[in-house]
């Protein structure tokens, strides 16, 4: 197919590189440098999509991000929903489909890579139009570190859509090229093309999305991140984001072939594409004259320019006349004809003399003025001001360290834009501490200057309100003037309500062209001043950002750090299954071939109770507490007394929050008069260290106490079971392991006979009720220790066990697990641990809360054991407990719930721990547990079910 709307020469496309693409199955050709929209126009295609509510044909209305109607679904090389044809760079093999309003997600995984990168600078400049380029170069010449971002594939901004004579260089392109070349050559300058600053945040933080390989299509290298989030931190921010042209609303203003006048210039100059062959122009300001004149000069038939103003600019009118363009002042478009393409426009005088008329054309260009792109400024909470001369909101206050320049600040002529750019560049670099930079000569051009003030016109007034209104305000949401009036008629006054009632501004384009018009129409309808209306909030992102780009590389194995111990690879090699505990991977159980979890756990439990077993306990939190006041400090943090613990001894301790609820538990060992080592649960290690630091630093800074995490310095191996002493003895030649010499709840340092002698700290503690030792070595030796223990224990059938077996063993002994048997509403007393709550200490954290009435209710839930009537039953954890044998109608009174439940090898039956109202008073009673459709009778027992007397722990 021939590109019959492409001019033979001109534009910035590479005519040597033809690219194949298709829309809705129709194959076409374009060039490198095209957007999908420019390539479609070159092929004479205006209609791209259909609208969401009425299914009306919709075409290409703009040449940039402000386009509200040319929405496509990319199908190949990879499905991507709702892309604007005006911003999709063309590549070979692009297959697109016009969207009927909703996009479609791929049903296969996205193979692309996404990443993020931080960059710091003195000055960030957003927008590489003339204002931004001058600002960036001025700052760069001062020696400042500069980042320049622009969302297009080449710098130049609005200059890309113009062909004025520029300075001595001839063309704007040459000037842009020079500036860019100098920027690129300046050290400390980073120019980011195809990069949209989509969010502006506090303290000079700007987020930008760089599209790095999209324009390469299927040829994109796999290992290069397709898109990158730049996290820019700048001392000074210069916003030079330009302005978006605004349409005027009239009947049937949505037909394909109706386009913004500035966009037509862009298609002409940047892409060498004519939007049509017979073009009518409708404007409220001078800028569209240029489009009319330039198109006529290219040989296009421009029969008429309608200027809504009663008095048009003389000079421009004369220029038009010279090119055969009739200017009709005081006229407006009142309607259009055509289906997939405009065929005629209806025109009429706005006031005064003249007759309605109809003119044939294939393209209608519209200009209703310019909206400064104030999104980022507004995101920074900069107040906006209504500028009546522009009919638009502009920055209305100064923000520290932020400047808005060029058309973004409301300047529409090149001279002001570049002057402001230069001033901002200088001010920014000075504010960042750089001396006066060498000035950048400001370019001049022969662009037509505005002669007459613009007229602000939101919509072409219409007599009677039409039944089926086609005066579209928001093309993407199919929202019309009638919808706006219906909203005001419904009693709505605020633009926020009207936005939500009509959905104007909530689509993919976020109201870039419609928002201002809606505000204007509302003001007219309500008879209020626009200046009194607050525009709806500009929110990030400025243009839409793929989810995957924001997720970046934090996916899969990198989604959240996997924390592992020194013995991890051993567990993996042995086929352990793992449990996630916080970020840690902990061995859950070690199935042997043919075993399921229940089998494996029974076997592991049996080994621990009958012979010897070991587990990897390295994940326990460990905190070194040093300093003269350590005992005093720990006395405040634990419910029990720690200051009277003897050096060489160990004590179990419980910590509560100020509300008196248990938050953690663990052992405290006294290493020296002024030194303790405390352990925390795996999941709470970081939290407890912070908790301790908070009290220490904020409440008791006078205490001479220093906290250091040593969690990962140590590898920790509980060695459990009647034969643990033998195994330890065989590895610890210098240690007297006898009960007399090394009693329960004490610790010893020794050197183990492991790879040439490994220093170890051995603690006699037991979380299983068995004779047990906890062996700690420098983590470098963890693996060696483990292997040595496996070897030394071989004669006894030493068995590695995981967290599940640990849970069973401790539950048989009634030891609670914080977070499993507690849920933030349980006190030490509820756990039956009054013994661990000091009566002597005047105070400790949580103590005062115990005196509250709720803490002294007789029916508090207390930790007890439950034995199902049928020993084979293992209650589900989380089952609720009730009083009656039959399930009554809901609501059913619940007495508590099962917190832990297992099949016990030692007890040869199922058992559970539970928290039950007045539980300890109910010991011996029968209660009931609804399980699926059954109600299971259970006997309430003491929470300690195994070896109540504790005879086993000494071996």
């Amino acid at each position: 197919m021939t590109a019959n709307f492409r001019l033979p020469v001109g534009g910035r496309v590479n005519r040597d590189e033809a690219l194949r693409f298709s829309l809705d199955g129709r194959p076409m050709l374009g060039y490198r440098g095209d957007t999908l929209a420019s390539a479609l126009l070159a092929n004479g295609v205006h209609q791209v999509a259909t609208s969401i509510k009425y299914g009306r044909p919709r075409g290409i209305m703009a040449a940039g991000v402000e386009d509200a109607s040319a929405l496509v679904q990319i199908e190949e090389p990879f499905p991507e929903p709702m892309m604007s044809a005006t911003t999709v760079e063309l590549y070979d093999g692009l297959i697109a489909r016009g969207l009927p309003g909703q996009g479609r997600l791929a049903d296969r995984p996205d193979p692309a890579r996404y990443d993020a990168k931080h960059v710091h600078c003195d000055v960030v400049v957003v927008g590489a139009g003339p204002a931004g380029l001058v600002a960036a170069l001025t700052s760069a010449r001062s020696g400042a570190r500069v980042v320049l971002v622009d969302d297009q594939n080449q710098a130049g901004g609005a200059l890309l859509g113009s062909d004025e004579y520029f300075d001595d260089l001839g063309s704007p392109a040459a000037w842009v090229h020079e500036v860019l070349a100098e920027l690129r050559a300046t050290p400390g300058v980073l120019v980011l093309e195809r990069t949209t600053a989509f969010g502006a945040y506090d303290d000079g933080f700007l987020l930008a999305l760089q599209r790095r390989t999209d324009h390469l299509g299927a040829a994109a290298p796999k290992d290069v991140a397709r898109q990158r989030i730049w996290r820019i931190r700048a001392k000074q921010t210069v916003i030079a984001t330009g302005a978006h042209e605004r349409p005027v609303v009239f009947a049937d203003n949505d037909r394909p072939g109706i386009m913004l006048a500035g966009a037509a210039r862009t298609y002409l100059h940047r892409y060498g594409v004519l939007p049509g062959r017979r073009i009518v122009v409708f404007t409220t300001n001078d800028s569209a004259y240029t489009a009319a004149i330039e198109l006529a000069e290219t040989g296009v038939d421009v029969p008429m320019l309608l200027d809504a103003r009663a008095v048009p600019p003389e000079g421009l009118v004369a220029e038009c006349a010279a090119r055969g363009i009739e200017v009709r002042a005081g006229h407006a478009v009142t309607g259009t004809e055509g289906r997939e393409h405009i065929t005629d426009v209806h025109i009429a005088p706005l006031a005064g003399t003249g007759h309605p008329d109809t003119i044939m054309c294939d393209t209608l260009l519209v200009s209703g003025g310019w909206n400064p792109v104030v999104h980022l400024f507004s995101q920074l909470r900069g107040a906006l001001r209504y500028a009546p001369e522009l009919g638009a909101f502009v920055p209305g206050e100064e923000l520290p360290d932020v400047q808005v320049v060029g058309s973004a600040a409301g300047a529409l002529d090149l001279a002001s834009c570049v002057r402001q750019g230069g001033e901002a560049g200088r001010a920014a670099s000075e504010a960042a501490g750089f001396t006066r930079p060498a000035p950048v000569p400001l370019p001049t051009s022969d662009a037509r200057v505005a002669e007459a003030a613009a007229m602000v016109l939101w919509q072409v007034p219409e007599g009677a309100e039409p039944t089926a209104d086609t005066r579209f305000v928001d093309l993407q949401r199919d929202a019309t003037v009638s919808d706006v009036l219906r909203a005001t008629g419904a009693g709505l006054r605020s633009l926020e309500h009207i936005k939500r009632y009509t959905t104007i501004g909530t689509a993919h384009d976020q109201g870039k062209t419609s928002g201002m018009i809606a505000a204007g129409i509302v003001a007219e309808a309500l008879g209020v001043k626009i200046a009194e209306q607050r525009p709806t909030t500009f929110r990030p992102p400025y243009t839409s950002v793929p989810f995957a780009a924001l997720a970046g590389r934090d996916r899969g194995e990198l989604h959240d750090p996997v924390r592992i111990t020194a013995m991890h690879s051993w567990h993996v090699a042995q086929g352990a299954l793992f449990e996630d505990v916080g970020q840690w991977k902990r061995p859950w159980y070690y199935p042997r071939p043919g075993e399921d979890m229940a089998d494996a756990v029974l076997r592991e439990c049996r080994a621990a109770r009958e012979s010897v077993a070991l587990m990897d306990g390295s994940t326990l939190g460990k905190i070194d507490v040093q300093g003269q006041d350590s005992g005093e400090f720990l006395d405040m943090l634990y419910t029990n007394m720690m200051s009277n613990l003897k050096v060489g001894r160990i004590r179990y301790g419980v910590m509560c929050g100020v509300d008196g609820m248990v938050i953690d538990d663990g052992t405290v060992i006294r290493l020296a008069e002024d030194r303790f080592l405390v352990t925390t649960t795996t999941g709470n290690a970081a939290k407890i260290l912070e908790w301790m630091e908070e009290w220490l630093q904020t409440e008791w800074p006078h205490l001479r106490v220093f906290l250091t995490s040593v969690t990962e310095h140590w590898a920790t191996v509980p060695l459990v079971g009647p034969r643990s002493r033998d195994v330890l003895a065989s590895l610890a030649p210098e240690l007297d392991v006898s009960n007399e010499a090394f009693g329960f709840m004490s610790w010893r340092d020794t050197v183990l006979d492991v790879t040439g002698g490994v220093a170890a700290r051995v603690c006699r503690i037991s979380f299983s009720g068995e004779l047990a030792y906890e062996i700690n070595v420098n983590a470098w030796h963890g693996r060696a220790l483990w292997e040595a223990l496996m070897a030394a224990g071989e004669p006894y059938g030493i068995t590695p066990y995981g967290t599940e077996t640990m849970h069973v063993l401790r539950a048989e002994k009634g030891y609670p697990i914080i977070g499993q048997d507690t849920d933030g509403t349980v006190t030490p007393q509820d756990l039956g641990m009054s013994w661990a709550v000091s009566k002597k200490k005047p105070d400790f954290i949580g103590k005062r809360s115990f005196a509250r009435s709720e803490n002294n209710r007789p029916d508090r839930k207390q930790l007890v054991g439950l034995l199902p009537a049928n020993p084979a039953t293992v209650l589900p954890e989380g089952a609720q407990i009730i009083e009656s044998a039959h399930l009554p109608e809901p609501p059913v009174r619940m007495l508590g719930h099962v917190t832990s439940s297992y099949a016990s090898a030692a007890l040869d039956r199922g058992f559970a721990l539970a928290v039950v109202r007045s539980g300890r008073d109910r010991i011996g009673e029968t209660l009931y547990v609804p399980v699926a459709d059954d109600v299971v009778p259970v006997t309430v027992t003491d929470s300690v079910l195994f070896d109540k007397e504790g005879t086993r722990r000494d071996g």
Binding site: R113, D115, A116, K117, H118, V119, H120, R145, P221, D223, V224, A225, R231, R233, R553, D554, E557, L558, D560, P561, V562, R563, I564, T565, A566, S569, W584, T619, D624, Q626, G627, Q628, R675, R704, F706, T708, S709, V710, T711, E712, H713, W714, P733, E734, V751, D753, T755, G756, G757, V758, A759, N778, A779, W780, H781, G782, R783, A784
Partner: protein, 201 residues
């Protein structure tokens, strides 16, 4: 029997080969088994007394480290907090170094803790090292902002790290990471370097 402290398996022992593949864009090597002691001391006099015992003054400005040679050989002393330092020394001198510091500390409030295995140490260098770090580290590592001698505790991606600018001019950094996070960090570094490996600097 005496204990051996200079051998064992280091957290990244199994990653050596994969990390080596990142060269020449980025050179990453583990420096395992270094002696690392946390030193806590508030009192200015005590701080001053420790310098001579180490052969190097404690860093007096936040976010910096000092380097020197003393009775225990070459040392680096990292500022980790207003009263917190990390002493980095050659493998195997934990005990003698601790003894020396304790002696210098005297009765002053303070603490010394052997944390040698708490973190492992990586030496990073190469022309793209700043780029790779910038993918996950929000600190400005430009030589003007982070000169030689800088030492920051911060995040690299989702791992806490201590980062030393060992030689800004030669693009040399030292990175300490907690042992349990080391393999995450290694995987992250390898993944972050993908592009730089393809396009040699």
């Amino acid at each position: 029997m005496t204990a051996e402290t200079t051998s064992g398996s280091s957290p990244l022992g199994a990653w050596t080969a994969r990390l080596a593949e990142l060269a020449p864009a980025v050179r990453v090597t583990e420096r395992p088994f270094l002696t690392q002691l946390t030193l806590r001391v508030r009192d200015a006099q005590a701080q001053a007394a420790i310098g001579p015992a180490l052969g190097v003054e404690l860093p007096s400005t936040p976010c910096s480290f000092t380097r020197g040679t003393g009775p225990h050989g070459e040392l680096e002393v990292l500022w980790l907090g207003p009263d917190e330092y990390l002493v980095l020394a050659r493998p195997g001198v934990q005990q003698s170094l601790e003894d020396a510091i304790r002696a210098a500390l005297g009765d002053a409030a303070g603490a010394v803790v052997d944390v040698s295995a708490q973190r492992t140490t990586l030496a990073l260098s190469g022309p793209r090292v700043r780029d790779v770090l910038a993918h996950g580290c929000a600190i400005d590592l430009h030589p003007s902002a982070a000169p030689t001698g800088t030492c920051v505790q911060t995040l690299l991606a989702q791992a806490g790290i201590v980062l030393l600018v060992s030689d800004a001019g030669r693009d040399e950094f030292t990175l300490l990471v907690r042992s349990s996070f080391a393999s995450y960090l290694a995987a992250w570094l390898i993944d972050a370097s993908v592009e730089y490996r393809m396009v040699p600097a």
